[in-house]
C-alpha cells in the first residue's frame, strides 16, 4: 500500500515554557491503514520526541488514548486515519485541565469514581466457603452494559454539564454506580442514592446524550444517568411511605 501525506495540527503545552496551549503542525507520510494513534507514535519516534501523549494497549480497552480529533472526542487507537481528511487536528480532551500536550488531568474523575462507591456493598459479607453467588444470565444482563466502561473519559469531554458544573458526578461515574445498584449481588442502593442526590446530583444531567454518542464501548452512559434519575425519584417517593432506619 502506498503512503500518502497528511498534516497533523497538534496542541502543544509545556507549563514550564508555554503561557497557554499552542498548535504545532507536522506533515508526515502515513500508511492508510494507520489509526490516529499510529501517526502520533510515528511523530514521537521519528519527528519530535518531545510530543507527549498517553497510550498503552492499542486495542481499545485500556482507555488511555482519548483525545479530541477534529474537534470530537475520540479513542485514537480505534479511530482510523482514513476517516479523516488531509489535515487532522489533535487536541487534549475538552473539559479537562491540561497537564502537558495531549495529557489531561484525571484525578478529578478518580475523586468522582470513588464517591459513587463502585464496589459490592452487602449488609453481611459472604464467606469464601459459601461459594459464589447465584446470578442468572438475565440478572447479569441487567447491568452488563454499564460494566463495560473503560474510563476513557470521552463522555466527560462531550458532556455540556461537565463543562459547566464542576461538582457533577458525570456520565461514567454515574454509570458505574448505577451498574452496582443493578447488580443482584449488591445491597448498597441506599448509600449510593445519597450520593446520586447530593452535590453532584444525577439531576444535573440535562440529557444531552452526547456522552453516549461518543462512547467507544457502547456503554450508553446517558441511559444509566437517566435510569438513575428514575430510581432516585422512586427512592425519594418511597422514602415518605417506608421510613428508613438508620441511614436516614
Amino acid at each position: 500500500m502506498s503512503g500518502s501525506k497528511k498534516t497533523f495540527v497538534i496542541t502543544r503545552f509545556d507549563p514550564d515554557r508555554d503561557e497557554a496551549p499552542r498548535q504545532q503542525s507536522y506533515e508526515i507520510e502515513v500508511d492508510p491503514r494507520w489509526k490516529v494513534l499510529d501517526a502520533l507514535n510515528h511523530i514521537k519516534d521519528e519527528v519530535d520526541p518531545s510530543l507527549s501523549h498517553r497510550w498503552s494497549c492499542r486495542m481499545a480497552v485500556c482507555g488511555s488514548c482519548g483525545m479530541m480529533v477534529d474537534g470530537k472526542p475520540s479513542l485514537t487507537c480505534k479511530d482510523s486515519l482514513a476517516d479523516h481528511g488531509d489535515t487532522v487536528e489533535v487536541a487534549p480532551l475538552a473539559n479537562f485541565p491540561v497537564v502537558r500536550d495531549l495529557v489531561v488531568e484525571l484525578e478529578g474523575f478518580l475523586d468522582k469514581l470513588k464517591q459513587v462507591k463502585p464496589w459490592i456493598i452487602r449488609a453481611k459479607e459472604r464467606a469464601v466457603e459459601e461459594g459464589t453467588h447465584r446470578q442468572s444470565p438475565a440478572e447479569h444482563q441487567e447491568f452488563k452494559q454499564f460494566s463495560m466502561c473503560i474510563n476513557c473519559m470521552l463522555c466527560y469531554s462531550a458532556c455540556p454539564v461537565v463543562a459547566n458544573e464542576p461538582d457533577f458526578l458525570g456520565p461514567a461515574a454515574i454509570a458505574l454506580g448505577h451498574r452496582y445498584n443493578l447488580d443482584s449481588r449488591d445491597e448498597g442502593d441506599h448509600e449510593r442514592q445519597e450520593v446520586f442526590r447530593g452535590e453532584g446530583s444525577v439531576f444535573s444531567c440535562s440529557y444531552a446524550n452526547e456522552c453516549s454518542e461518543v462512547c467507544p464501548k457502547n456503554v450508553d452512559p446517558a441511559a444509566a444517568v437517566n435510569q438513575a434519575k428514575f430510581r432516585a425519584v422512586i427512592d425519594w417517593a418511597t422514602s415518605f411511605v417506608v421510613p428508613r432506619g438508620g441511614e436516614g
Binding site: P160, N164, E165, R197, F203, S206, V233, W236
Partner: protein
C-alpha cells in the same frame, strides 16, 4: 437555597419530565386546532363556541386535561430555560435563575388550578 433546590430536584424533574411527555402528547392536537386551524378558518369557529367549549372544559376530565396541558409545559419550560442559561455561561447564577424560573412555574401552575376551578 442550593440545598433546597437539591432536595426538590426529584419532584422538579418529575414535573419537567411529565411536561415533555404529557405536555407534548396533549399540546400537539391543542395547538393544531386552537392555535392554527380555528384562527385560520380551516375549522369553523362554532366548533369551539362558548357553550360547547365550556361544556367540554368543565367536565372533570376536561378540567384535568386542561390543567395538565397548561401547568406541565411550564415546568418543562422553566427547567429547560434553566439548562439553557447554564449552556450560555450562567452556571454561577444557576441558583438564582432556577429560583426565578421555578417561581414562574409555581405561580403559573397555581393560576392554572384557579382557572380550571372557576370554570
Amino acid at each position: 437555597m442550593k440545598q433546597w433546590l437539591l432536595r426538590l430536584e426529584p419532584i422538579i424533574w418529575l414535573l419537567f419530565g411529565q411536561g415533555i411527555l404529557l405536555g407534548t402528547l396533549l399540546l400537539t392536537g391543542w395547538i393544531l386546532v386552537v392555535g392554527l386551524a380555528i384562527p385560520l378558518g380551516l375549522v369553523p369557529a362554532e366548533a369551539l363556541s362558548y357553550e360547547r367549549a365550556h361544556a367540554l372544559a368543565s367536565s372533570l376530565v376536561g378540567k384535568l386535561v386542561l390543567l395538565a396541558l397548561c401547568a406541565l409545559p411550564l415546568w418543562k419550560g422553566a427547567h429547560h430555560i434553566r439548562s439553557l442559561a447554564i449552556d450560555f455561561g450562567g452556571a454561577e447564577r444557576d441558583t438564582a435563575v432556577a429560583g426565578c424560573l421555578y417561581l414562574i412555574a409555581i405561580v403559573g401552575s397555581l393560576l392554572a388550578i384557579a382557572a380550571v376551578v372557576r370554570l
